[in-house]
Amino acid sequence: MRHVRVFWTGFVLHFKNLSASPFMMMTAAIWPLVYATLAFLMFRATGQAPSLLYAALGAAVMGIWSTTATSAGGAIQQQRWYGILELLVGAPSPLILVLAPITVAIAAIGVYSIATTLLWGRLLFGVPVHIAHPLLFAVSIPAAVISIGMLGLVLASALVLYRAASAFSQALEYPIWLITGMLIPLSLLPVWVHPLAWALAPTWGMRAVRHAALGGDVGAPLLVCAGLTIAYGIIAVTLLQHFERLARDRATLSLT
């Protein structure tokens, strides 16, 4: 129970902190609109999209991933710049419970993009917002957010020891939303990409969100998404243990 409280308190604090950042809010609100516009125009021209809502949801989740890719990779680094990393590592709570709320909060900021994208689609393109399974939709969104946040944590933990971490993380922005089916259906991609896509929780999170909105099996993609999210958590714990040991050895917890 204490661990849940630590995670939740951290999540609320970081969500509030990020919401007070004009840069984060601009990123969360504006980029998805650009993606959505491109997707609407593209699908309208080809007439191949299952529906415009399909494109709108894809653009919204792309917004969540974009926010995460640009910020989560450098999330630990940013705590170092704030002078807070030492305080977080020096606390007796497990490091995963201290750092995971940061990347999940970053992904959650992207939830703003769902609202703006759906509103944008409705007002400009007349996209009807009809959700087939509202309850499952409400479950799928946090599942997708948490899975993307945990993927961000894996990136942050893996890259924190390298100075170019943030740049590398940002370079992953386009490949990930391409191969997880956020923009175009996975079936249109080469077969060799599929195993890679299946190993990424956002693929399943995206599928659950779309099935919940448009109709289809939600349970299976949600379960796979949850399983992969747990696997990311285990990978992150291992990486963070390694990071903490190395950082204490190399004296890299602070900037000075």
């Binding site: 002078g83 007796p92 040991r245 190399r250």
Partner: protein
């Protein structure tokens, strides 16, 4: 049993120089430090910038691994039992970073209370107590970005003692704080001792160390060069008098002649605009004002005064001889 023990503690930093052709470089920041702090004691680590104070404190609070040697806090090894040690200590670093600026003091304190396992019910009471202790009651709902440096420092102290730790480490807590703010902080530090905590404080403000510390270890270039009560340090280094002579245009040869005088233990020169202040420490066995002035023959001399040695004189003598 000592609450804090450092036994032959060493720390070497490995870094590189150059951009294209990088050369490895090793810097010995701490070179075999040993000391012990007893329950309820306020122990000071005093030394110039780069002496190894912060490195020592970071090893003790488990944020840095020692290169060799041992350190124990509350009887637990800081390397083998890091998490256990972390839950029972508090620490505060100087400077105004280390806070979530866009959030309120209350948000910051609630978060760290949770990280340190302060239960929900106890949080409200404890946060009110620490805010009162550091004089921030009534300002806790304001964003930290609007706080003065002194207020931030006080908030740091509140954060550091939120979970009621048995041992508190304070690394230059009054650095950059205005005199009134620094006085308030010193009062808060004194209150920690009154409430039964053990405190390790690093500072390079002599009067602060003199006023607060039960015992002091002076560090220079990674080694302890003197240890004892402030009184013992003063007496041990300059058991006599200090003569201050204001001069205009004294050169190194003259200073060397003063140093060579029988009964003179140390001479420091402080530059003050057009003037210089010679601070001459003597053994006190003889009155040396006349011989000192004789050596300054031909040099314009201003005010001359004599006083009891201060901790700063002891510090200068200890650090200056290294």
């Amino acid at each position: 049993m000592a609450v804090i023990e450092a036994i032959d503690l060493r720390r070497t930093y490995r870094t590189t120089t150059g951009v294209i052709r990088r050369k490895p470089l090793e810097v010995e920041a701490v070179r075999g430090i040993s000391f012990a702090v007893e329950q309820g004691e306020l122990f000071g680590l005093l030394g110039p910038n780069g002496a190894g104070k912060t490195t020592t404190i970071k090893m003790l609070i488990t944020l840095l691994l020692p290169t060799s040697g041992e350190a124990r806090v509350l009887g637990r090894d800081v390397v083998a039992h890091a998490r256990e040690v972390r839950g029972r200590i508090g620490y505060v670093f100087g400077g105004d970073r280390g806070l979530y600026e866009r959030l309120s003091a209350l948000d910051n304190l609630r978060y760290f209370a949770e990280l340190y396992g302060v239960s929900g019910k106890a949080q409200r009471v404890r946060i009110a107590e620490v805010l009162e202790l550091v004089g921030l009651t009534g300002r806790e709902r304001e964003r930290v970005e609007g706080y003065s440096r002194g207020m931030r420092q006080r908030l740091h102290i509140a954060r550091g003692i939120l979970h009621d730790p048995e041992v508190v480490f304070l690394d230059e807590p009054t650095i950059g704080v205005d005199p009134v703010g620094a006085r308030d902080l010193r009062r808060a530090i004194s209150d920690l001792i009154t409430s039964g905590k053990t405190v390790l404080l690093t500072t390079h403000y002599m009067f602060e160390a003199d006023a607060l510390c039960d015992r002091i270890a002076v560090i220079a270039k990674g080694e302890i060069v003197g240890e004892g009560t402030p009184e013992a340090l003063k007496a041990g280094v300059a058991d006599g008098r200090v003569t201050e002579i204001e001069v205009f245009g004294v050169g190194d040869p003259v200073v060397e002649r003063l140093r060579a005088l029988d009964g003179v233990t140390a001479v420091a020169v402080e530059e003050r605009d057009q003037r210089q202040l010679l601070v001459v420490q003597t053994t006190g066995e003889r009155e040396l004002t006349a011989p000192l002035l004789a050596e300054l023959d031909g040099i314009e001399v201003g005010r001359v005064s004599s006083r009891e040695p201060t901790l700063e004189d002891a510090y200068v003598a200890l650090v200056g001889t290294e």
